[in-house]
């Protein structure tokens, strides 16, 4: 991609910035060729990704270097887009919201600074990937388990900051953050929680500190650059029990969500569960044209063949129980009482005990296999996720399923969904898969996404996270009191980032300098 700069940045200021960045990090870590810009494009963009083109990237290795870069950016009014490992796939990857922004690539800051086996936490830099931390724990024989997302190629810190999830009892990754170090938009360094005390011995033991807690301010935001994060890890349990459950009928969602919601609320089931439709399996195990070559969404007769081939239900989910042996056995009895009468089958759990092969357990083990779904339509595949948050109620879930499925079919896309169950909510993750080079398909995917935002907002459901293309739309759907939340966000943004240099447009928050011209 050729260089494109925001209207607020002159070519002279940009060149000067790159030269000064090179003086900080070394010229080999300032990446500004056409090919470099290509490598920071969104690999799964709806189209060619030319709406979100980085002007360059700069890759510091130390906190001091980050601060120095931020000072220069303020001086020359150069917008920066921090990224940890750039694998926020489906949401824009490493690409900036505003074309012409310089990506602050934190991939070289990849040290595992501390793992405390006794008190079960780690302190990591943003470039540490899930595989890195997993290998470290395994190599050092540390009996702590990680919460790992479906696509585990990315950063532990980045995922927690985007409110990503994993599937163990520690799966609400953001809630396991305990203490952060943050470079503010004006380059000062702050530590949150107990870390605000220079001689602290409890930074990763107690999250809140004294007075207001600011950690959430740096989550899904453009108000700071996180350079260190404390994260709680799960002590390896004595045992796990797992069982996969298949539900044959689409309408089974109603009773099943009600039963599972109660088990989640009571903490009998402690982890986030993916309650997904048959396409979850089909899109990993096969490609669409093996089943159907027609236009429009795949018909019910084809769905039936897919389910029959793989021996799966219209819906399926995995129940995993964690703890001491006595505890998981007791939990299993409660689950059986709640599920079996309506399922009309006996649940057959697979047992794992400490010392057995870890692959048989409920541990979070990094994998990128779920990315296989982008190949469902063939060609240069991509995907985008629409994920509204809703109450874990069976009737509401059935209604949402019918509403979403109808929209997918109206726009000619195969309905891929999961009702991922937290303790008091569902993240209804709907994935649209497309061939990026098929303009009709990407156009209809975009139109479908906009329709889903509007439908869900009418139903009272807003998204938990979204792609660059839709950040303004989703932010706009949070509209209580004439969008007062956005006005608060903008007030804070302007106070902390007066030059508007940090991630303009992230989550719909535009600094004063770009308000009205960035979107």
């Amino acid at each position: 991609m050729k260089l494109v700069l925001p209207s607020t940045v002159s070519a002279q200021a940009f060149d000067q910035a790159l030269n000064r960045f090179a003086g900080i990090v070394g010229s080999e870590w300032v990446l500004a060729t056409d090919q470099d810009r290509d490598t920071y494009l969104d690999a799964y963009a709806l189209g060619d990704g030319s709406d979100h083109v980085a002007a360059a990237a700069v890759a510091p290795q130390t906190v001091d270097e980050v601060q120095a870069i931020v000072r220069i950016a303020n001086e020359l009014k150069i917008p920066l887009w921090p990224t940890a490992r750039g694998k926020n796939l489906g949401y824009g990857a490493a690409a900036p919201r505003l074309s012409g922004t310089v990506v602050l690539d934190l991939g070289r800051m990849n040290r595992i600074l501390e793992v405390d086996p006794k008190f079960a936490y780690c302190v990591v830099e943003p470039g540490v990937g899930f595989f890195d931390l997993y290998n470290h724990l395994r190599d050092e024989k540390i009996a702590l388990w990680m919460s790992v997302p479906g696509n585990a190629w990315g950063s532990v810190v980045g995922n927690a900051l985007e409110r990503g999830i994993g599937y163990t009892p520690y799966g609400d990754n953001t809630s396991k953050i305990c203490g952060m170090e943050v470079v503010l938009p004006t380059a000062e360094l702050v530590r949150t929680g107990m870390g605000a005390m220079a001689a602290t011995r409890s930074w990763q033991h107690y999250a809140y500190g004294f007075g207001p807690g600011w950690d959430q301010m740096f989550v899904q935001s453009n108000l700071g650059i996180v350079t260190k994060m404390g994260l709680w890890l799960m002590p390896e349990p004595e045992a796990t029990l797992r069982v996969r459950v298949n539900l044959p009928q689409p309408e089974d969602i109603r009773w099943a969500i009600d039963a599972l919601a109660r088990l989640r609320l009571d903490n009998v089931i402690e982890n986030n569960m993916v309650f997904g439709n048959y396409l979850h399996d089909a899109a990993v195990l096969s490609q669409r044209d093996e089943w159907y070559q027609g236009e429009g969404a795949i018909p019910d007769s084809v769905s039936a063949r897919i389910m029959e081939r793989y021996g799966i239900g219209w819906w399926s989910f995995m129940i995993t129980l964690y703890g001491q042996q006595d505890v998981v056995d007791a939990r299993a009895r409660i689950v059986r009482r709640a599920i079996e009468p309506q399922l009309k089958q006996t649940l057959k759990f697979d047992a794992w005990r400490r010392g057995d092969p870890i692959e048989q357990s409920g541990a979070g083990i990094p994998s990128v296999l779920p990315l296989q779904i982008v190949n469902w339509r063939g060609g240069r595949g991509g995907h985008i996720g629409f994920s509204p948050v809703m109450p874990p109620d069976g009737r509401l879930a059935l209604e949402q399923f019918h509403r979403m499925q109808a929209r997918f079919e109206e726009y000619g896309h195969d309905y891929y969904t999961s009702f991922t169950m937290g303790q008091r909510h569902i993240s209804n993750v709907n994935i649209i898969v497309y061939d990026r080079d098929n303009k009709a398909m990407t156009d209809s995917a975009r139109a479908l996404f906009k329709a889903l935002i509007a439908d869900s907002a009418r139903a009272g459901y807003g998204e938990y996270r979204t792609h660059l293309d839709f950040m303004d739309d989703v932010a706009h759907s949070f509209d209580f009191n004439h969008h007062m939340l956005m006005r608060l966000n903008e007030t804070v943004k302007d106070a902390l980032d007066p030059n508007g240099i940090l991630a303009p447009g992230k989550n719909g928050i535009w600094p004063r300098a770009f308000r009205g011209i960035g979107a």
Binding site: L31, D36, D38, A43, A59, H136, L371
Partner: protein, 122 residues
């Protein structure tokens, strides 16, 4: 991974490679190719081992015989470099921060290594 573990893994990999390389159809790895093998396993294992998502995609598109990059005999170094920097199909491009130019050059040399004369064309 700790440095000690890195070294241990590298030793195992080199040893495994030596077994392969000592077979009927492959020459021993050069120093650059050995570094390429290390870098391949550091940066490409996520998707390109047996059963990995990249291997599955390649197998579907090109046939099972071409699924595993390390077993291929038809890869050209320039093609490998271009694929990594531009991305290919559903594989995202990798930046020079993630895989440096020197690492990529070594990976490309490793994947495009020539077979021994007896093995015929590649």
């Amino acid at each position: 991974m700790t440095r000690a573990a890195h070294r241990a893994l590298a030793a195992v990999l080199v040893s495994a490679s030596a077994v392969t390389a000592a077979g009927a159809d492959e020459a021993p790895l050069t120093a650059v190719q050995t570094e390429g093998m290390r870098a391949f396993h550091a940066h490409c294992d996520y998707c390109h081992l047996e059963g990995g998502t990249g291997s599955i995609m390649l197998g579907r598109r090109l046939g099972p015989g071409k699924a595993l990059l390390e077993a291929r005999k038809d890869l050209d170094a320039a093609y490998v470099r271009a694929s990594v920097r531009s991305g290919t199909r559903s594989m995202p491009a990798l930046t020079r921060v993630e895989v440096t130019d020197a690492e990529l050059a070594a990976i490309a040399e490793y994947l495009a290594r020539a077979p021994a004369p007896l093995s015929g064309s590649r």
